[in-house]
């Protein structure tokens, strides 16, 4: 593949790929402002409203941060949606309304996430199963097990835990600050640690990374664990937000495919090795801005779906079209 790529040495200076997510974000924001002013609904431009827009996509953002890690190592995780449902149900069943059980419930959810991620990672790196198939299979298994046990809202989240979704620090929702902290943490890990640079190395060229002495299997497994733990956190957030766990919340939000779309719109390459967390955050903002634009403009919900599909493809095409590689 690399024969066709990089035929000409890259010019220093402005690098389009790097700024594409930001350009898209600015474009989406401009459209949002334009539509709001154009339809005479300036009330949508207040600070509170912008915060509210962000608040709607926190679960997607948390999941997408995890997804960034697996996509960076050239893997993918389709099991996040069912894992979100599973952890939300598990947490709310363990809590069952009693504040004393909050800590055990959080631990149980995180452990479930870690175990699923560990299994995914081992199947992908140990058995060499294509990650798409491995995590798709895992998703079917989780969803099957889950719907064998629960078919409706299960358990109850005590008021003390609902703070996670509804609490506020000053004008900012607690969950938004949490998301920001998570993104900073992920950025720091990717930017400053050896593990972070190993991730880029493995994603860029696994063979070369192995010859350079990196334990590639371990990096892949660890990335999958991070992704699944992030999905578990998203599950906890949704349980707190809905005040109970339901076995369909993950599938309803299409968190598996949407988180992948967000990551890719944010400029992280599906083939691995290039991209980062801030692009993912930009992708999440673009997604929620688009949704708000549709809401303000009063687009019919089915037409909204059609436009959404087109926008995902168009956004990826926006920078992919410049690559000289043959894609499949």
């Amino acid at each position: 593949m690399s024969i066709a790529e990089d035929a000409a040495p890259r010019k220093p200076g402005f690098r389009f790929e790097r700024w594409a997510p930001l350009i898209l974000l600015v474009g989406a924001f401009a459209i949002y402002v334009g539509i709001a002013l154009g339809t005479d609904q300036a009330q949508y431009l207040t600070f509170d409203n912008l915060i509210a827009i962000l608040g709607r996509s926190i679960a997607l953002g948390i999941t997408a941060i995890g997804q960034t890690f697996v996509i960076l190592v050239a893997s993918i995780d389709l099991s996040v949606a069912s894992l979100i449902s599973a952890t939300a149900v598990l947490a709310s069943v363990v809590m069952d309304g009693s504040p004393a059980m909050i800590l055990p419930a959080i631990l149980a959810a995180l452990v479930l996430g870690a175990v699923v991620g560990l299994t995914n990672g081992l199947v992908v790196s140990g058995l060499k199963v294509n990650p798409l198939i491995a995590t798709l299979g895992m998703s079917l298994i989780i969803q099957g097990c889950l719907s064998a046990f629960v078919s409706n809202f299960a358990g109850e989240v005590p008021a003390a835990f609902q703070v996670f979704a509804y609490g506020e620090i000053g004008p900012f929702p607690l969950a938004l600050i949490f998301l920001l902290a998570l993104a900073v943490l992920a950025w720091a890990v990717l930017r400053f640690t050896k593990f972070g640079s190993d991730i880029y190395a493995v994603g860029g060229n696994e063979e070369a990374a192995r010859f350079a002495g990196i334990k590639t299997g371990r990096i892949v497994v660890l990335s999958h664990v991070i992704c699944s733990v992030c999905a578990a956190i998203a599950g906890l957030y949704l349980a707190s937000r809905l005040r109970s766990g339901a076995p369909w919340i993950g599938a309803d939000g299409v968190y598996d495919l949407e988180s992948i779309a967000v990551v890719v719109i944010g400029g992280t390459v599906l083939a691995g090795g290039r991209g980062g967390v801030w692009g993912t955050m930009a992708g999440m903002l673009i997604f929620s801005l688009i949704d708000s634009v549709f809401n303000i403009a009063g687009v019919d919900s089915f037409a909204k779906q059609v436009l959404r599909g087109i926008i995902i493809v168009a956004a990826v095409a926006f920078y992919a079209i410049r690559s000289k590689r043959i894609v499949a």
């Binding site: 299979g137 969803q143 097990c145 064998a148 992948i260 599909g309 493809v313 095409a317 499949a328």
Partner: protein, 328 residues
């Protein structure tokens, strides 16, 4: 290959892996079904089985082209939905309309495939994202077209393909029309894949697109053809499914993943270079046989999901293991 006077034992060992394991799996599953339900050996038993398997088998035959060429087609499931909903809107209970609605639907299938291929080739969007966007778009279109609540029936002339039987056939007493469609389509796809230049070129671009291009393969044209064939198979499967399932907006849900599963069970290699239409047909039959068997055992839907997930992972893990052993 230098010494042709191999001891027969060594030759035996080399020939053994040439039987695709999917046929062994299928034989075992059919034996199990016959054991559970002796009526299966009657024409009613196996013809109904083939009839039920027909849409999936046709889809898998189309999907193999895209997978072998190195991509994915996630849009076929919602294409089925669009075809079923669209035919019910277009025929509008008029039996005479079938004669032009069927070609229109096949045209839609070809068009959707062509758009997928063009997006992948010229906008350079990875097929996972491109067909995902198409899936979302087509689902939205199906809703939009039907106004959210599909109405009416498909006329009997339309349901002919999925439902009718041709009676008084010697030897087997009757043949469902869908089985004839199945044999013709799979036969045609298999011929195209394994006996023509196109098939060889599909394998070539999946294995190494740069090498294929240097060898003079029109990579884009072949890739677009692969997507068109997949879209066409989706439209045919939709017409068959319209015959035996009712009109609803979720008839096609999940079929894209089942088609990929069937192709993978048949030994198709994800990300390209290896795939066989007859084996994918075998994979589709095996998958349907598994579902039939689980039905006989009285297992509920969730268990079916878990089993499908486990089989998916196990099949790919086994294939990778064999590949490592044979060193290819």
């Amino acid at each position: 290959m230098t010494d042709r006077a191999d001891p027969s034992g060594a030759r035996e060992r080399r020939r053994l892996p040439q039987i695709n394991p999917v046929w062994v799996l299928l034989a075992a599953l059919i034996a199990a079904i016959i054991f559970m339900n002796p009526g299966f050996v009657e024409p009613t038993g196996y013809m109904n089985f083939l009839k039920r398997a027909a849409p999936l088998a046709i889809l898998a035959a189309g999907q193999v082209y895209v997978i072998t060429s190195g991509g994915f087609d996630l849009s076929v499931g919602s294409l089925i939905t669009l075809v079923v909903v669209g035919s019910s809107m277009l025929t509008n209970n008029d039996p005479a309309a079938t004669y032009w609605v069927v070609p229109v639907m096949l045209g839609i299938g070809v068009g959707v495939g062509a758009i997928n291929g063009l997006i992948v080739c010229f906008l350079r969007v990875p097929s996972l994202i491109a067909t995902l966007g198409m899936m979302i778009t087509l689902n939205g279109l199906a809703f939009l077209w039907s106004g959210g609540a599909p109405r009416g029936y498909l006329p009997d002339t339309f349901r002919f393909f999925g439902r009718e039987l041709i009676r008084d056939v010697p030897l087997v007493r009757f043949i469902p029309v869908s089985v004839i469609v199945l044999v013709v389509v799979v036969g045609l796809f298999a011929w195209l894949m394994h006996r023509t230049n196109l098939g060889r070129q599909v394998h070539a671009i999946g294995d190494n697109p740069v090498a294929a291009r240097l060898a003079g393969v029109a990579v884009n044209r072949v890739r677009i053809t692969a997507f068109v064939l997949s879209g066409l198979s989706g439209a045919i499967a939709g017409i068959l499914l319209g015959g035996f399932a009712g009109v609803s907006t979720d008839v096609g849900t999940g079929y894209e993943l089942q088609a990929i599963t069937a192709a993978v069970l048949g030994g198709a290699q994800l990300l390209g270079g290896r795939g066989s239409v007859p084996a994918a047909f075998g994979g589709a039959l095996a998958l349907t046989a598994i579902f039939t068997l689980l039905n006989f055992l009285g297992l509920p839907q969730p268990v079916r999901q878990v089993v499908q997930g486990l089989i998916l992972i196990a099949a790919v893990a086994l294939a990778m293991h064999r590949r490592k052993q044979t060193g290819t």
